[in-house]
């Protein structure tokens, strides 16, 4: 079963490769069917993670596999939603290769093969975006962060003479790794993958986010309160920027990434939950958050980590851990960052919900896009709510994040029922139409173009970094083989 789950995406890519020969109308259908199969394979990988099967260097029984499965399912879902009538089998096929890379990376028991497959995924994503505008910037994001991560692991290996430090990477190499992971996951607003929102190449975005959090759950696993504070402060800046300077959709996508990273550095045990929340949020944003007419409450809830979703569970876990660390601290040096983090988490929650209200109010999607996009964001919302209702499926979320599992579940289901009943009542009575008239919408602010990096210098730099990163991974692999490590 494992080979099918891991290599099946590459098999689907082969099907698409052959399918490229068929007429365009059939290609559109083929891409959708294959993407649907990819979603099923990804979801199966996530569900099958409870099994203890192994195959070569891959092993299913880890939270890495859940994260990898969700990541892959989201990537295929975006292909199905955003290909529209273009029939871009080439993009879909390359994303399929990237999915296999992520599957093999996420389930790998060994660091170096994992890095190798990560680079395979990187090259596949880079190729998938090669025909899109702003590709230079995306390449730079992919390969600069890849080089940073590999460089950090190389430095750590030289320092400790161990393939994986037990407590994660130490010293300045950790900061190199953390920076690489953050940028790869999309912490920089309006840069790289954020340029792809709304087109089929956006399917690469969840793969980048997923791979970043998989690294964070391995060699990057470390408690770092000041980093948490910095990331939360950055998320507040992003919200202020979104609300007062730019249009929300232009910059808002990086907010959930920043918050998820903050939680990961506050509570490393919650990294996989945070990763899943971030992947779902980035996928929801990828469906077209930047669009001028992008109002969609389901998307807003996923992006803004609203209560009932996995994002909120993760945020609550971070807040709880920060509070407990702040009150349990014995020195000022320990207490100050944790107190700041404990104060900033509720601010992040409030900011997220404010953002959600603005994202919901944006005008609707353009005709023809509305149905598919709405279905996709609804599916992502249901997934986020599913993980939110059953956070224990993620294993390592702090038990006290929201309270005892069963009673929290019942309360959340009652809240959902109340929401549905109140919503239906409001809809039928037309109460809202009296108070939320079309005239009350503020004028949509014009998109303010944010200057992109020059294409050729960015591409050249990205190529150099790609070469350097790939060469390093190759050397590490040979070194690993030489000592019989693999």
């Amino acid at each position: 079963m494992i080979p099918t789950l891991l290599l099946g995406h590459a098999g689907l890519a082969l099907v698409l490769l052959i399918g490229g020969l068929v007429p365009r109308a059939n290609r559109v259908l083929l891409v959708r069917v294959v993407a649907g199969l990819g979603v099923v394979l990804g979801a199966t990988l996530a569900v099958a993670s409870g099994r203890t099967e192994t195959w070569r260097t891959a092993q299913l029984d880890s939270e890495h596999a859940v994260l990898a499965g969700v990541t892959i399912a989201c990537a295929w879902l975006l292909i199905a939603a955003l290909d529209r009538d273009h029939g871009r089998w080439d993009v879909a096929a390359l994303i399929g290769v990237g999915c296999t890379g992520i599957a093999l990376m996420g389930t790998n028991r060994w660091l170096v093969p994992g890095l190798m497959f990560s680079f395979v995924a990187s090259f596949a994503i880079a190729a998938a975006v090669s025909t899109f505008q702003h590709r230079g910037e995306v390449w730079l994001q992919i390969f600069a962060t890849g080089a940073a991560i590999v460089g950090a692991i190389l430095v750590d290996w030289q320092n400790t003479e161990s393939w994986v430090s037990p407590g994660g990477i130490e010293g300045w190499a950790f900061w190199l790794l953390a920076g690489g992971v953050a940028v790869r996951a999309g912490a920089l607003p309006v840069f790289g993958m954020w340029r792809l929102c709304g087109c089929s190449a956006a399917a690469g975005a969840p793969l980048l986010v997923g791979s970043a959090f998989i690294v964070l759950g391995g060699p990057g696993s470390r408690t770092e309160p000041w980093l948490t504070v910095g990331l939360l402060a950055a998320s507040a800046v992003v919200i202020a920027w979104a609300l007062f300077v730019k249009r929300e959709g232009d910059v808002a996508g990086s907010w959930p990434v920043l918050v998820a990273l903050a939680v990961s550095f506050a509570a490393p045990g919650a990294v996989f939950g945070a990763g899943i929340a971030a992947v779902l949020a980035v996928s929801a944003a990828g469906t077209g958050l930047h669009d001028r007419y992008a109002g969609d409450p389901a998307r807003a809830f996923v992006v803004a980590f609203a209560p009932l979703t996995i994002g909120f569970s993760v945020l609550a876990a971070g807040a709880t851990v920060a509070f407990e660390r702040a009150t349990g601290a014995t020195t000022d040096a320990e207490s100050i960052p944790w107190t700041a983090a404990a104060a900033l988490f509720p601010v992040a929650l409030a900011a997220g919900l404010t953002l959600a209200s603005r994202l919901s109010r944006g005008a609707g999607a353009a005709r023809g896009r509305a149905g598919v996009t709405a279905l996709t964001t609804l599916a992502l919302f249901l997934a986020a709510a599913g993980f939110g209702l059953f956070p224990d499926t993620l294993g390592q979320l702090p038990a006290s994040a929201l309270g005892p599992q069963r009673s929290v579940l019942v309360l959340q289901l009652v809240a959902l029922a109340a929401a549905i009943a109140a919503g239906i009542l409001t809809f039928r009575t037309g109460y809202a139409t009296q108070h939320l008239s079309r005239a009350s919408y503020e004028p949509v602010r014009e998109h303010v173009a944010i200057r992109t990096l020059p294409a050729w210098p960015a591409a050249a730099l990205a190529s150099l970094l790609a070469f350097g990163g790939a060469a390093t991974v190759g050397w590490l692999t040979i070194e690993g083989l030489r000592v019989g490590f693999l």
Binding site: L315, S360, R361, G364, A374, A419
Partner: protein
């Protein structure tokens, strides 16, 4: 009758009925979630209550313009921080632990030393001010809007009473003590909810600058309370 998504013109906003239904649904969910924790039906941390309050704020903000939405968001952040002052007082983020500490030692606002008690009062004042600003937003008219405002005021009152006053029902089944405790708890809830709802009507007529000033004041009170606690505990 709502317009279906497919039939919308390309640049039309989503129908108000659909968006309004989502907003009111979120408010209802927020009341249920926060109420469930505050009534002790479910044990959990203070942040879970803040989540319910944030859903309420989301539902309100959908009806509002950008400036009002920002005010609503900041009000919820201040409210959350002020609730955190109560949690900080007992070094406990779990509602059960907060109730337990107050059941044994007394209401947070009445337990000394004096600086700690003052800190709790500052937190409580911050909740009232932030609650007033939150509910002063012009969300709908008529009886439904009034009922929603009253309900949300009660939730804010419950949150303040739970964190700063204590448990509703003592251990044991003694009727008199139970009635007194429930009565005290209801009074504490009302003592916050009534002024919050009442003053929100006054604040609704105030200029926006005054609301921001009130939020700054509430934030400063909460921060001072936290700093006082930090210096004593």
């Amino acid at each position: 009758m709502a317009t279906s998504a497919a039939a919308r013109p390309p640049s039309a906003p989503p129908p108000a009925a659909e968006l309004g239904a989502v907003a009111v649904g979120a408010q209802a969910a927020g009341v249920v979630l926060a109420g469930g924790y505050l009534l002790g039906l479910v044990q959990g941390p203070v942040i879970a209550v803040v989540g319910g309050l944030a859903l309420i704020a989301f539902g309100r903000a959908v009806f509002l313009d950008r400036a009002w939405a920002a005010v609503t968001g900041v009000a919820i952040a201040v409210l959350a921080g002020a609730l955190g002052v109560g949690a900080l007082r007992w070094d406990a983020i779990e509602l059960r632990a907060l109730r337990g500490a107050q059941a044994v030692l007394g209401p947070t606002v009445l337990v000394g030393p004096i600086r700690v008690s003052v800190a709790a009062w500052l937190g409580l004042a911050a909740i009232v001010i932030a609650g007033v600003v939150l509910l002063s937003a012009p969300v709908g008219k008529g009886r439904p809007a009034l009922a929603a405002r009253a309900l949300e005021g009660i939730v804010i009152g419950l949150a303040a009473a739970t964190v700063f006053w204590g448990p509703a029902i003592p251990d044991g089944l003694e009727l008199g003590a139970t009635a007194a405790a429930v009565g005290g708890w209801a009074l504490a809830t009302g003592a916050v909810a009534v002024p919050v709802v009442g003053l929100s009507f006054v604040a609704a007529k105030a200029p926006m600058a005054l609301r921001w000033a009130l939020l700054v004041l509430a934030g400063a009170l909460a921060a001072t309370g936290a700093a006082l606690l930090g210096s004593v505990l």
